[in-house]
C-alpha cells in the first residue's frame, strides 16, 4: 500500500473532514489505486519544464480605488437569509473562547 489508514485520517483532519472506520478503509484503497495510477507522470523527464498554473496568461487586473458596492439593507438581508444561524445582522457560531 502507498498510504496507511492513519495517514488518510491525518489528511482528513487537515481537510476538516471525518470518516467512519469503514469509509476510511475504502478511501485508503481508493487513494492507493489513484496514487499508483498518477505515478505514471514519473515516466516523464520534466526538470527543465516550467509548470503551468493557467492555460492563458493571467495577470491580476487593477481597478480604480473607489467604492463600487455601497452597502444596502436588502442585499445584506438576502445574504443573511442563507445563514444557518444568525442574530440580528451577525452570523452565529458555537462559542469559540472559554
Amino acid at each position: 500500500m502507498r498510504i496507511t489508514p492513519d495517514e488518510v485520517r491525518q489528511i482528513a483532519t487537515l481537510a476538516r473532514l471525518s470518516f467512519t472506520e469503514e469509509e476510511l478503509t475504502e478511501l485508503t484503497q481508493h487513494f492507493d489505486t489513484i496514487l499508483t495510477y498518477v505515478d505514471k507522470l514519473g515516466e516523464l523527464q520534466t526538470d527543465s519544464v516550467e509548470p503551468t498554473a493557467h492555460a492563458v496568461a493571467v495577470s491580476a487586473p487593477l481597478r480604480d480605488d473607489v467604492v463600487t458596492n455601497t452597502p444596502n439593507a436588502a442585499q445584506t438581508d438576502a445574504l443573511l437569509a442563507n445563514a444557518p444561524s444568525r442574530k440580528t445582522h451577525f452570523f452565529r457560531v458555537p462559542k469559540i473562547i472559554e
Binding site: 489528511i11 476538516r16 478511501l27 505515478d39 505514471k40 462559542k95
Partner: protein
C-alpha cells in the same frame, strides 16, 4: 411540430412572426417537463411562476414592433452550479440544498438582458464532480435514449433536458469534459469555450483554472447564438479575457474548404467501441469531401492527461470547497460542541463521497512533502500537453477526435471504481488542461440506438472555426430528426 421541440432560432422566428407567444412557448415547455421529468430527473428546480412572468414581459417586448433582444421569450435551463437571483442553487449537493442565491451569475445576467426566460435549474454531479451524473445528491439524471443509462456528467441535466425537449437550450459547465461528454451521450451539441472566453463570476467553483461555462443546444446554429450572448470580458472575473467577441452566427456558413483538420493517432485507441470509431471516421471523411484537408498529427503526451488533470483538479477543489464550513450559508450540523467539530461534522454530513474523496486527495497532493512530487509535477506535465496542441496547430487548423471511447454506459456500471469512471474523460480532459475550445457534435448512433459524438478542438479563441465545421457537417446529417423514445 410541438412548441417545446423548437430550437432557439426556430422559436425566434415564430415568436417574431407572432405565430406563438412567449407565454405559450414557456407553458409548452413547462408541460413537457411535467409530463416527462419523472423518467429523467433533469430538473432540480422548475421556475414555473418566474418563467411565466418573464415570458409575459417578453410578449410585451415582442408586441412593441422594435427588434427584440436575441433570446426574447426563449426558455433556457441552467446547470445548478450557475446562480440566478432569488432561485435555489444546490450545485447538486446536500450542503447547498436550501441555498437561495442573492445575486445573478454574469452569464445569467447576460441571458436576462437578452430576454431569455430562465425555466429552471438542472441536475448535475455534486459540485460538477463526475462523469455520469450519479454523484447528484438528489437523484441521478437519466439518459433520454435509454433510462437505464447515464446521461454523462457532470452537466447531465443540461444535456438530457435539451435532448428530451424540456427546454430550448441550456447552459452547462465543463472542467474535464462535463459539457462535451453528456452532449455526446445524449445526442446534442455542446461547446466548452476557450478558458477565459466566458465569465465564471457567480458559478460555483470546482477547479478554477479549468472550469468554463458553455452552451448545450439542439443544433450548431443555436450553439453559436447562445455563445454570442454569454461570451465576453467581465471585470468581476480576473481570468476572463479582454478581447472582442466575434459574431459567431454571422460567418457560420463559411464552410470547411481549405480547412486543415488534424487527426491525432493517440485518440483512436485499442478497446474503443468499433461503432464509435466508424462513426467518427465517417464524419471526418465527410468533412474531407466538403473540401477540408485531413492531416495526421500526434499529441504524444495524451496518455498523461488524466493523471495530470486529477491532481490539479483535486488540489483546486480542496482549496475551493474550504468555504463550505456551516457558518455563513449552507448546511450546518446540529448539536456540535465547538467550532472545530462544527466544520468537521458539517462537511462530513453535507458532502457526498466523491466530493470528500477529491477534497482529501487534493489536500494530500498539496501537503508538505508531496507538493512538488504531485502538484508541481502535474503542472509541468500540463505544460507538455499544452505544447503538444500548440505544435499540432502549426500543421492543422482544428483537430477532430471522438468525444468518448464508448456510448452511454449503464447506471452503476462504473460507480464502484473511481479510476474507471475517471477514464471516461480520456478524450476530453486534455482540452481543459490546454485551455482550448472543444465542440461536441452528434455524428451517429450505435446498434442500441445510443448517440455518438464527434469532438472538434480549436486554437485558443477560435470557436468560430469549430462552429463553422460543425455547422457544415450538420447540414448534411439530420441526426436530430431521430428523437428519444419518451
Amino acid at each position: 411540430m410541438s412548441h417545446y421541440a423548437l430550437t432557439i432560432h426556430q422559436a425566434q422566428e415564430k415568436l417574431r412572426a407572432r405565430e406563438v407567444s412567449a407565454v405559450e412557448l414557456s407553458q409548452a415547455v413547462l408541460n413537457r417537463i411535467q409530463d416527462t421529468d419523472q423518467h429523467l430527473h433533469s430538473y432540480l428546480t422548475v421556475c414555473a411562476e418566474e418563467a411565466l412572468a418573464q415570458a409575459e414581459t417578453a410578449d410585451r417586448t415582442l408586441a412593441n414592433g422594435v427588434t427584440p433582444p436575441p433570446l426574447c421569450g426563449i426558455p433556457i435551463a441552467l446547470k445548478d452550479v450557475i446562480l440566478a437571483q432569488g432561485v435555489r442553487s444546490t450545485a447538486g449537493s446536500k450542503i447547498l440544498e436550501h441555498f437561495v442565491s442573492p445575486y445573478d451569475a454574469t452569464v445569467t445576467q447576460h441571458l436576462k438582458e437578452a430576454g431569455a426566460v430562465i425555466i429552471g435549474k438542472v441536475n448535475c454531479d455534486e459540485f460538477a464532480m463526475g462523469s455520469s451524473n450519479e454523484n447528484s445528491a438528489f437523484a441521478p439524471c437519466r439518459n433520454p435514449w435509454d433510462t437505464d443509462r447515464v446521461p454523462g456528467g457532470s452537466s447531465g441535466g443540461s444535456a438530457a433536458c435539451v435532448a428530451a425537449d424540456q427546454t430550448c437550450a441550456a447552459l452547462g459547465t465543463d472542467t474535464g469534459g462535463s459539457i462535451r461528454l453528456p452532449a455526446a451521450f445524449c445526442g446534442i451539441v455542446g461547446l466548452k469555450p476557450t478558458y477565459g472566453r466566458v465569465s465564471r463570476f457567480g458559478v460555483v467553483a470546482y477547479a478554477s483554472s479549468l472550469d468554463q461555462v458553455g452552451p448545450c443546444t439542439k443544433d450548431v446554429r443555436d450553439c453559436a447564438l447562445l455563445l454570442e450572448v454569454i461570451a465576453g470580458y467581465d471585470p468581476r472575473d480576473s481570468t476572463s479575457v479582454n478581447r472582442p467577441t466575434p459574431s459567431y452566427t454571422a460567418h457560420l456558413e463559411r464552410g470547411v474548404s481549405g480547412l486543415r483538420i488534424g487527426i491525432p493517432q493517440e485518440y483512436f485507441i485499442e478497446g474503443m467501441q468499433p461503432e464509435v470509431e466508424t462513426a467518427v471516421r465517417d464524419a471526418i471523411a465527410h468533412l474531407s469531401t466538403l473540401g477540408a484537408e485531413i492531416v495526421p498529427i500526434s499529441l504524444p503526451h495524451t496518455e498523461y492527461a488524466i493523471a495530470s488533470y486529477y491532481i490539479i483538479a483535486m488540489a483546486e477543489a480542496s482549496s475551493n470547497l474550504a468555504r463550505y464550513d456551516g457558518v455563513r450559508y449552507g448546511y450546518r450540523a446540529a448539536e456540535v460542541e465547538d467550532l472545530g467539530a462544527l466544520y468537521q461534522t458539517t462537511r462530513a454530513q453535507g458532502f457526498g463521497s466523491e466530493v470528500k474523496r477529491r477534497i482529501a486527495l487534493g489536500t494530500y497532493v498539496l501537503s508538505a512533502g508531496y507538493y512538488d512530487a504531485y502538484y508541481v509535477k502535474a503542472q509541468k506535465v500540463r505544460t507538455l500537453i499544452r505544447q503538444d496542441f500548440l505544435s499540432a496547430f502549426e500543421a492543422c487548423d482544428i483537430i477532430a477526435t471522438p468525444v468518448a471511447p464508448t456510448t452511454a454506459f449503464r447506471l452503476g456500471e462504473k460507480l464502484a471504481d473511481p479510476l474507471t469512471m475517471y477514464l471516461s474523460d480520456i478524450f476530453t480532459i486534455a482540452v481543459n488542461l490546454a485551455g482550448l475550445p472543444g465542440l461536441s457534435v452528434p455524428c451517429g448512433f450505435d446498434q442500441h440506438g445510443l448517440p455518438i459524438g464527434l469532438q472538434l478542438i480549436g486554437r485558443p479563441f477560435d470557436e468560430e472555426a469549430l462552429l463553422q465545421a460543425g455547422y457544415a457537417y450538420e447540414q448534411d446529417h439530420d441526426w436530430r430528426a431521430r428523437k428519444p423514445p419518451l
